[in-house]
């Protein structure tokens, strides 16, 4: 309470803040251009070092690797926009991947039904996260750190040391990952469709705009009558559904699934989201930015492999990139804030 009183903005600061909102969108758009430029630079440098890198098949490989992470990143973006975070996505992907694989292995369900059940499972796990955060009011970091281990533990219980291999899986299911639509691999098409739909809804639908409002200023969002807790719950459901879709496709993409599938994925996803310019304090950022972030990270990873750098560097680079991205954001934000405060006073 008292913090709010101290922070209550003076007229000039208020003007600064209104301007700041607009500048932040501008910065976000600059960010997307920025990522593309960095991406081009990486591609150029690596191509000079190793010409093999620059080929349609290698780029297709990169995009295939990105597709599943990008789908999860779309869901993560909706959660981060509301000033929350979902650390359990890796475990949701893993649990859904194993459950779907197991259903198909045991011939319990046909391929479409198993896919449907997998997506619903993801949605349910996301809804559980949403309940803990929105109803029990547990901070998202604690709630999803808990479910990260709860869901992974359930995965171990379900798997019981078993593994689903490619031979156990029906051909129709494995065919999803190798098939293509108009010469573009289905997984890439699916990821692009999900990202575009989410981008459109976040930009143009009422609830989409309200998610931004909640992240920018939760108290103000509440005052203007936005059902904040219900929307935060919804964001977690969307995040769970996206992780569920990625989980369903996981077995098809990689052929085999064990209880450790997709562990640690949350760090890659969060790295993609913050590199993509989604503000970790909520309220600004786009799905397209997050997807571009994922593409940049996957390109760097691919480049390291091609340049024969040890893959032990990958995790360290993910971590360094998270720090660099949020650090740069803070520096840019601080810079614009100072400029706006000055103009506001004048």
């Amino acid at each position: 309470m008292s913090t709010r009183a101290i922070e209550s903005p003076t007229g000039s600061a208020l003007a600064g803040r209104i301007g700041l909102g607009r500048t932040l969108t501008l910065v976000a758009r600059l960010r997307e251009v920025g990522i593309v430029l960095v991406l081009l630079a990486v591609v150029a440098i690596v191509t000079i070092q190793a010409p093999l890198f620059f080929s349609v098949s290698n780029f297709e490989q990169i995009l295939l690797n990105v597709s599943l992470i990008a789908i999860v990143a779309v869901g993560q973006t909706t959660v981060v926009l509301t000033r929350n975070v979902d650390l359990s996505v890796g475990s949701v992907v893993g649990l859904v991947a194993f459950a779907t694989g197991d259903l198909l292995k045991e011939h319990t369900l046909g391929v479409p039904a198993a896919i449907g059940v997998g997506c619903l499972l993801g949605l349910g796990l996301g809804a559980f996260n949403g309940l803990i955060v929105a109803v029990a009011r547990v901070p998202a970091i604690v709630a999803t750190l808990g479910t990260l281990y709860v869901y992974r533990g359930l995965d171990f219980i379900v798997a019981g040391g078993k593994q689903v291999s490619a031979i156990d899986l029906p051909r129709d299911y494995l065919g999803i990952a190798t098939s293509s639509v108009l010469a573009i691999p289905t997984l890439i098409v699916a990821a692009a469709l999900i990202a575009l739909v989410a981008a459109y809804l976040l930009r143009n639908s009422g609830p989409g705009r309200e998610l931004y409002a909640i992240g920018s200023n939760p108290a103000a969002a509440e005052v203007v009558g936005i059902p904040t807790q219900r929307l935060i719950f919804g964001a977690f459901v969307v995040c769970g559904l996206c992780a569920g879709i990625a989980g369903v496709l996981w077995g098809s993409r990689f052929g085999s699934v064990n209880a450790l599938a997709a562990s640690g994925l949350e760090l890659q996803v969060i790295a993609a989201v913050v590199v993509g310019g989604v503000n970790i304090f909520g309220g600004s950022g786009t799905v397209i930015g997050a997807v571009l972030g994922a593409i940049l990270l996957a390109t760097i990873e691919n480049a390291l492999r091609i340049l024969h750098l040890s893959e032990f560097w990958l995790l360290a680079i993910d971590g360094a990139i998270i720090l660099l991205a949020v650090g740069t954001d803070a520096a840019i934000r601080g810079y614009f804030q100072r400029i706006l405060m000055r103009t506001g006073r004048r």
């Binding site: 604690v142 913050v274 949020v326």
Partner: protein, 331 residues
């Protein structure tokens, strides 16, 4: 206000004792080997690394921040210790070096949080990946063994003639020091003040950034110390040592009654919670439940430990307010 919260925490600690007794009863019903001196000694020895990391984390959370990178700093310390030892450097040089790297890792967290102004959640999520990544860069997939006898004995032997594991002495000394500093000195009062209201603390002359930076440095050093002890106990240095410890460490602190929003919590509660989780895991291990499956119970405990008090507080908040309105309206 402080009186009421004190009473609440007294009750919270009583609850922890009840929980501890309940788990001990449960454990003894699961396995006949549970209630024995050697099992309790073994159980304690398994806990010490997590317990040592929980102490500084408690202070960090009381000050309103979080450190998720502790388990990776443990891994980095273990990897570095193995790497330098394999180079033939003597341990009396390796151990201080590793502790120094721990301090530097904590300093990086602290600087990014207090000077750059980034949320500790994201910073330490980043360093969780960074430090673990650096650990595997340093040591790769190999493990280093062949440690001197005094070192491994320190890790898994008891004080001669007793059932007290050596690392327990280290933890006990640290716990008493933390207890004293947090509850009996101005440093502790500053930490509570920062967690209650950062701005008010700053206006009352507390160097918030400095206090927080020191807390992160302590966290780094003690995580590195935990890495040294774990290496001694397993007599093996590996880059993936301590992976997944963050769950138990964070759960101990929050189950121990530390408020996730800062400003409240006691060392006694945290120490009790450490043993609650240790007894739970040990009982489940004796009942042949795998560690990954045990994490379901610990994860649930983590969520409940925060959801429970929030719900209780929301219900109890309705009570005294009604009682207070009368005298106010009379005057």
């Amino acid at each position: 206000m402080s009186l009421r919260s004190l009473a609440l925490f007294r009750r919270w600690e009583t609850l922890l004792v009840v929980l501890l007794v309940a788990f001990i009863v449960l454990g003894s019903s699961l396995s006949p080997y549970f209630v024995s001196g050697s099992n309790f000694s073994n159980l304690t020895s398994n806990l010490m690394e997590k317990a040592i990391m929980a102490l500084p984390l408690a202070l960090i959370i009381i000050a309103g921040e979080i450190d998720l990178s502790v388990e990776s700093m443990l891994g980095l310390a273990s990897a570095l210790l193995g790497f330098t030892y394999a180079l033939g450097w003597p341990l009396w040089l390796d151990i201080p070096l590793v502790l120094f790297v721990g301090a530097m890792g904590g300093l990086l967290n602290g600087v990014l949080v207090t000077r750059v102004g980034l949320p500790s959640l994201v910073v330490t999520l980043g360093t969780l990946a960074l430090y673990r990544g650096l650990a595997s860069v340093v040591l790769g997939p190999r493990s280093v063994s062949g440690w001197p006898e005094w070192f491994t004995n320190f890790g898994f032997s008891n004080v001669p003639g007793t059932l007290i594991p050596w690392p327990l002495l280290v933890f006990a000394a640290l716990a008493i020091a933390f207890l004293f500093v947090l509850h009996r000195t101005w440093i502790g009062r500053q930490i509570y003040a920062i967690g209650k209201n950062k701005e008010a603390a700053r206006y009352s002359g507390i160097d918030v950034a400095k206090v927080k930076t020191y807390l992160f440095i302590f966290s780094g050093v003690l995580s590195a110390l935990a890495g040294v002890i774990l290496t001694a106990r397993f007599s093996s240095a590996r880059a993936d040592n301590g992976q997944g410890f963050v769950l138990d460490v964070v759960t101990s602190v929050l189950l121990g009654g530390v408020n996730i929003f800062g400003g409240e919590g006691t060392i006694v509660g945290v120490v009790l919670a450490i043993f609650v989780i240790g007894v739970l895991r040990n009982g489940l291990t004796l009942a042949d439940v795998s560690p990954d499956t045990q994490s379901v119970a610990v994860g649930a405990l983590l969520i409940l430990s925060v959801a429970g008090p929030t719900l209780v507080r929301r219900i109890s908040a309705a009570w005294p307010r009604r009682q207070l309105t009368k005298p106010v309206s009379n005057s």
